[in-house]
């Protein structure tokens, strides 16, 4: 089974779970006076779940078979591509998400920019540090001082 039909299967499961919630569990919490309304919070989701299940089945059945096209990246040969840096960058983004608040904006952002460049093979350390420091400072100044959106600059233990 090709990848697109596997995804069709996963989406079918998703729509089934969504439909189950819409048809069977959501209406239980509805206040009695709202039951007289012609429209319930679950009405629109019910329609969507039926349509979603229908179209997921169409894809699964292979009814609408297009020619097999190989896009920009052929997933069957994923090992031939630079998979490791891509996964490392995703991990780095997740780490940034978790560290942004506790470690402060200035530290986590410069670390993110430097680590990202290192993962991609950059080795000019001096340039990297300068670029990361300037970019972090400029963005922080723009967002915090000019736009007035609060970004904690320093780690909590430094009073940031």
């Amino acid at each position: 089974m090709a990848l697109d039909r596997w995804i069709g299967l996963i989406l079918l499961g998703l729509f089934l779970a969504y439909g189950y919630a819409a048809w069977f569990t959501m209406d239980g919490e509805l206040a009695p006076f709202m039951r007289r309304n012609p429209i319930w919070p679950s009405t629109f989701p019910k329609v969507l779940s039926v349509l979603g299940i229908l179209f997921a089945l169409i894809i699964l059945s292979g009814f609408e078979k297009g020619e097999v096209k190989i896009g920009d990246i052929d997933y069957r040969r994923l090992g031939d591509y630079h998979l490791v840096p891509a996964l490392l960058l995703l991990g780095l983004m997740a780490a940034y998400a978790l560290l942004l608040r506790p470690a402060g904006f200035l530290f986590s952002t410069s670390a993110f920019l430097i680590a990202g460049a290192v993962i991609l093979g950059e080795r000019r350390w001096f340039l990297m540090i300068i670029v990361a420091a300037i970019a972090t400072g400029v963005v922080w100044y723009l967002v915090q001082v000019v736009l007035g959106i609060y970004l904690r600059p320093l780690p909590g233990f430094l009073g940031g």
Binding site: P41, T43, I59, E64, G71, T109, A115
Partner: protein, 504 residues
């Protein structure tokens, strides 16, 4: 009307106000380039500055400059980085980004600037002529028609976005629609599908999803296949100029989309987003066969259509604001707030009581568009240089800006984890050739669509609005045709191809 134009010119052409337009356009363009800060947020940031000036005409002129600048800035990041920061510029990235990858970034930005200019200027002319008449037409559209209009929009996108695979595109649209139902809706005060998570209470953020669908998979593809970035621009801005033949081919597109975009923009709530998507879908559908295949691969028509339509629609959205006092979009709602703070009440009396404000706004739209063109055309080679940054620096920065965009919008670190998660899902979906644009469009329109659906259900006490309102029924019939025709045609073509093979 001539008197009005003269008053407007007199107000708008003072040195102070011209400086306001220039400043506004520059601020708007540069901040608008950062994904996550759309016109709405930039205008709300500028409101305190505008109000402190005290002069309503100057304040509005500044804000109009910021507005147009922000829309152009948003197109820039869509074209260069495939990172649309605003819903209205998502369609711009469909053809703008492929053009940038073919080394035509300069040309793409020039076309975007000219299309925006033409859309905005023609829109302003139409605004002058039609404003009084259109306000009454816009009131004829009820929630039932809005709902049907959105169904048409979504079917048009699904029918044309998928490469002949309508079912996949529709499934993606539905996925976007169910994502829009997560969180607390406007009409029902209860959280839905949040799985008990507090962070999902307000639903998924638009910026998060837009970044996860477009910018993040693109950046990952660049990492996976470094040759991909080498295929594109190497920093040289080749042929920025538009040839005569190209100008001739986009001129009718600009003309059509200025009109269509303007009239869609007039409908309150429809706005630039629907105008740009519908504009793209319509132009793709009416283009000759060989040009149709170009769409999505760097067609200049596919870039000019949404750019013209969204600017014309922005101008159109001023019609209900200035004539009825009803803001048609989020941005005009903020402008309404600014006007009220400046002691001006928009509405039917505005044109009679404060003609200098009404006309100054319209004239400042022309000037804003003109200044934008004059400022941006010389800047384009420098803006396009972004692509010449080495990939070891460019990719971490793209990732950083996607993260910042999602964070600034919601101020919530969980949003960043969602971004990474959705980004991975989007990459896998792209591997399997599922179109991602319908998902995002479904998500954007989902909330509005459900609200209008619910309102009509309440008004008609059931589903009867579908057959009791002829306009709704007509629109829904068009939507059904849009879905059925392409799949029927594809089936027949396949059957015929199979038959030929058998005969051989």
């Amino acid at each position: 009307m001539i008197d009005g134009i003269l008053i407007g010119l007199q107000t708008a052409l003072s040195i102070q106000n011209i400086l306001m337009v220039i400043g506004g356009c520059l601020i708007g363009t540069f901040i608008g380039m950062l994904p996550g800060l759309g016109p709405m947020s930039i205008i709300s940031i500028m409101i305190p500055v505008a109000i402190s000036m005290g002069d309503p005409a100057a304040a509005l002129i500044l804000l109009a400059g910021v507005y147009y600048g922000a829309i152009f800035g948003g197109s820039t990041s869509s074209i260069l980085l495939n990172a649309p920061g605003v819903a209205g510029t998502v369609a711009t990235s469909f053809d703008g980004y492929p053009m940038a990858r073919q080394g035509k970034a300069g040309k793409a930005l020039t076309i975007a600037a000219i299309a925006s200019f033409a859309g905005g200027t023609i829109g302003a002319v139409l605004l002058m002529i039609f404003a009084p008449m259109l306000s009454s037409v816009a009131l004829l559209f009820h929630s039932a028609e809005y709902f049907a209009l959105m169904v048409v929009g979504l079917s048009a996108i699904a029918a044309f976005a998928g490469t002949g695979q309508v079912a996949k595109a529709i499934l993606m649209t539905l996925l976007g629609l169910i994502m829009a139902t997560v969180g607390e809706g406007a009409l029902f005060n209860m959280p839905r599908f949040t799985m008990g998570l507090m962070d999902l209470q307000s639903g998924f953020g638009f910026i998060t999803l837009a970044m996860a669908m477009f910018a993040l998979p693109e950046a990952l593809f660049l990492v996976l296949n470094p040759a991909r970035s080498a295929q594109g621009d190497n920093g040289e801005i080749k042929d920025m100029r538009i040839t005569r033949a190209e100008a001739r081919s986009i001129a009718p597109v600009i003309g059509r989309q200025s009109l269509q975009g303007f009239f869609i923009g007039v409908l309150p709530g429809a706005g630039a987003t629907i105008a740009s998507f519908l504009g793209y879908a319509v132009e793709r559908n009416i283009a000759p066969k060989h040009e149709q295949d170009e769409f999505g691969k760097g067609s200049i028509k596919g870039l000019a259509a949404p750019e013209t339509a969204n600017n014309a629609a922005c101008t159109g959205s001023f019609v209900p604001l200035l004539t009825l006092g009803i803001p048609g979009s989020g941005t005009t709602a903020i402008l309404l707030g600014a006007l009220i703070a400046l002691n001006v009440t928009p509405g039917p009396r505005l044109m009679l009581d404060d003609p200098q404000i009404f006309w100054a706004v319209i004239i400042s739209m022309y000037i804003g568009n003109l200044v934008l063109l004059v400022l941006n055309l010389p800047l384009i080679p420098y803006i396009a240089k972004i692509l010449a940054v080495p990939r070891t620096f460019l990719i971490p920065f793209i990732l950083f800006f996607t993260l910042m965009g999602a964070y600034i919008g919601q101020n919530n670190a969980t949003e960043l984890l969602l971004l990474v998660g959705f980004g991975i899902c989007a990459t896998v979906l792209r591997f399997a050739d599922y179109p991602l644009a319908p998902l995002l469009i479904g998500f954007i329109l989902g909330g509005m669509m459900e609200n209008n659906f619910s309102r009509s259900m309440q008004l008609y006490d059931g589903i009867s609005f579908v057959w009791e309102r002829p306009m709704t029924m007509g629109l829904l019939a068009i939507a059904a045709l849009l879905v059925i025709l392409p799949s029927y045609r594809a089936q027949r073509a396949r059957a015929r191809a199979a038959g030929v093979a058998d005969g051989d």
